[in-house]
């Protein structure tokens, strides 16, 4: 540029660190991390062994059980959750088509993975959310972490996860949980913070302890928001199983990945729709369940 002819070079090209410095720094960190992982790899393997066994067991349970049993159990859970014949019939139809197109086993693998991830995310998210609501300092610390978790491309945090745990279900699960837990945490925190101050004051006036307040007032009144969090978490784990298939999680996600690589248009969409169907089943059931828990708030003045 013409202007740059008259200016010192420093103002035209950003004064970056030299390539050799960056390379050296990168190498130090990478090597250090690799060495760290290598020296602790046995310990790490032993530590995640139970989780690995559990995930394998659950997957085998879903895949090897005769399909009518799985279907019946699923329909019973869906009906008990939603108390809606419509949702139950919809579930039966969706599962019928998934089976018809030969995706039953893959769907079972995905279902097993999603179930475990959701349970983990909820068990992890609710206590953290409660702590955030309780202590402003925890909120101030956790919030930026959640921001990073939600904006950092999942491929990036897959790198260290794979380096530490290798390829398989455990790293996949960790990736999914990292992706799916933020809404659970945020909505638990928000729900508890929005609880009516007057009701809390009443609980105080009757001499409730902190735990009694949490159990009797804060959690029940925050429940609609917490349920929305669980719903979001389920949806996000389902979305993430496709990405997790890159690190060795099987199921529908793996098929999608294969379809992308080979430009198999039909296979891609079939598996995609199977994921959508499972998502809708989870969503309708959990929403109807949440609504039923809130029955008391829907009654209009008599």
């Amino acid at each position: 540029m013409a202007l740059c002819d008259y200016l010192p070079a420093m103002l035209c090209k950003f004064p970056a660190l030299s390539d050799s410095t960056i390379r050296a720094g990168r190498k130090t960190i990478d090597d250090g991390f690799k060495a760290f992982v290598r020296s602790y790899s046995d310990l790490i393997d032993t530590a995640v062994q139970p989780l690995q066994v559990f995930l394998n067991f659950l997957e085998r349970l879903f895949v090897t059980s005769p399909w009518p049993i799985i279907l019946i159990v699923m329909l019973v859970i869906v009906y008990l959750g939603s108390r809606s014949v419509k949702v139950t019939i919809g579930t039966a139809l969706a599962m019928y088509f998934i089976g018809l197109f030969g995706l039953w086993n893959d769907a079972m693998v995905t279902l097993a993975m999603t179930t475990v991830c959701t349970i983990f995310a909820v068990l992890l998210g609710i206590p953290i959310g409660i702590l955030m609501a309780r202590f402003d300092r925890v909120q101030a610390t956790v919030n930026p972490v959640l921001d990073v978790m939600q904006t950092m491309p999942s491929f990036v945090y897959l790198i260290p996860v794979v380096m530490i745990f290798g390829i398989g279900k455990v790293p996949g699960m960790i990736a999914v949980v990292i992706y799916a837990v933020p809404p659970m945490i945020r909505l638990t925190n928000l729900g508890i913070r929005l609880v009516d101050k007057e009701v809390l004051e009443a609980a105080d006036a009757f001499g409730s302890s902190g735990w009694q307040k949490l159990k009797n007032v804060q959690i029940p009144l925050a429940l609609p928001t917490i349920m929305a969090g669980i719903n979001q978490t389920i949806m996000m784990s389902l979305a993430m199983v496709v990405v997790a298939s890159m690190v060795g999680v099987g199921g529908l996600g793996k098929n999608v990945l294969g379809a992308i690589n080979n430009q198999f248009f039909t296979v891609g969409f079939l598996n995609g729709f199977a994921l959508v169907a499972i998502a809708i089943i989870f969503d309708r059931t959990s929403q109807a369940f949440g609504k039923r828990l809130q029955k008391h708030s829907e009654v209009i003045h008599g």
Binding site: D196, E198, V199, E201, A202, A203, D204, A205, F206, G207, S208, S209, Q212, N216, V217, P220, L221, L223, Q294, H296, S297, V299, I300, H301, G302
Partner: protein, 349 residues
């Protein structure tokens, strides 16, 4: 039996992050306006001294912003005082540690709230047992006691309804039942009836008065309504800008308002329902004439009795039935109408 009076002494509350820093300046005369203008802190209460009678109804009256809700929250320490004492049975509530305070709240006090503050996810009976539940009393026992009080406040048949299936008046009955089930000696009522319709409010006042006749709790009742204060209060304290302007019985306040502010309030009061016959009776001259009227009867009731009996003269008798004074219908009427020229031009309300 121990005395269950509550005594509030030299109580100050300054709202703001560094309230305690300004307490000395406030004590030596810094005004509410100056405190706010110079330091951005709000003076909630200043130098409150009230002796609340044991087993009686103490009404704290004031308009919004007068500090009355702040004051009642100091009795069970939902708000921490900046300085001062709240004594109950000789113990300063403000100095209790966390455990003692929780025990005090569980066993000695019960509170009724303006906006009911019921748990929306619990039925009437589940709300009513709340106080007992957190004390750890077995469910069967607490439910039995809850059902008794639900019945007493007139909500039988609604035990399994949720709060938002009930009207405001019924919700506040639940609030009252919840407080009474706790069986505490102190009943704190924070504008408990202010959110109710006028007719329901009178109804609930009657419920409280009837219960109080038998329970004899130490009741602290907050209101912005002077009529309500006069109807319920054995003793009334009037608050303005965080300061007690006047305290005394309803009669004392109506007959001798301390300043223009109270005069303006008192002007609208139905005096016939506040002033007792002995206050205006004349000394007995000769034999008692007309019908006997008991001491403690309010003017309105006396006038009604005399009009019904078609008599223009009556005599007042004490508890033993001895005549104590004489009373004429025109004196009663004169006392019932608001005297003109009382104080200066009344302030706009």
């Amino acid at each position: 039996m121990a005395s269950h009076a509550i005594e509030v002494r030299n109580l100050y509350k300054i709202f703001g992050p560094r309230g305690a820093d300004y307490i000395d300046q406030v004590k030596s005369g810094l005004s509410k306006t100056d405190l706010n203008a110079q330091y951005g802190h709000v003076l909630g209460l200043q130098d409150i001294n009230i002796a609340m009678p044991a087993g009686g109804v103490m009404v704290v009256m004031g308009l919004s912003g007068s500090g009355k809700s702040t004051l009642i929250r100091h009795i069970n320490r939902l708000i921490e005082p900046t300085s001062g004492e709240v004594l109950y049975d000789g113990v300063d509530v403000c100095r209790m540690n966390e455990r003692d305070l929780r025990e005090f709240r569980r066993h000695k006090t019960a509170m009724v709230f303006q906006k009911f503050a019921l748990l929306p996810h619990r039925t009437v009976v589940e709300n009513t047992v709340y106080g007992l539940e957190i004390q750890g009393i077995p469910a069967a026992e607490s439910e039995k006691r809850a059902r008794y009080w639900i019945d007493r406040v007139g909500l039988s048949g609604f035990e399994n309804h949720y709060p938002n299936q009930l009207s405001g008046g019924m919700q506040q009955r639940v609030g009252l039942a919840r407080a009474l089930t706790n069986d505490a000696e102190i009943l704190l009522m924070d504008e408990a009836y202010s959110a109710l319709d006028p007719l329901i409010r009178v109804d609930m006042q009657t419920v409280l008065l009837d219960l109080q006749k038998e329970l004899k709790k130490t009741v602290v009742f907050i209101t912005h309504d002077l009529d309500e204060a006069l109807r319920l209060g054995d003793k009334i304290a009037i608050l303005r800008d965080g300061r007690v302007v006047q305290q005394g019985t309803g009669q004392e306040i109506v007959l001798n308002p301390a300043d223009d502010y109270i005069t303006a309030f008192v002007k609208e009061v139905n005096r016939g329902r506040v002033i007792n016959v002995e206050t205006i009776m004349k000394p007995l001259a000769g034999n008692p004439q007309g019908m006997p009227i008991a001491m403690g009867t309010v003017l309105e009731a006396a006038a009604r009795a005399m009009t019904t009996a078609d008599q223009s003269v009556a005599h007042v008798v004490d508890e033993a039935g001895r005549p104590a004074g004489t009373l004429a219908l025109d004196t009663i009427i004169a006392a019932m109408v608001t005297p003109t020229g009382h104080g200066e031009t009344p302030q706009a309300a």
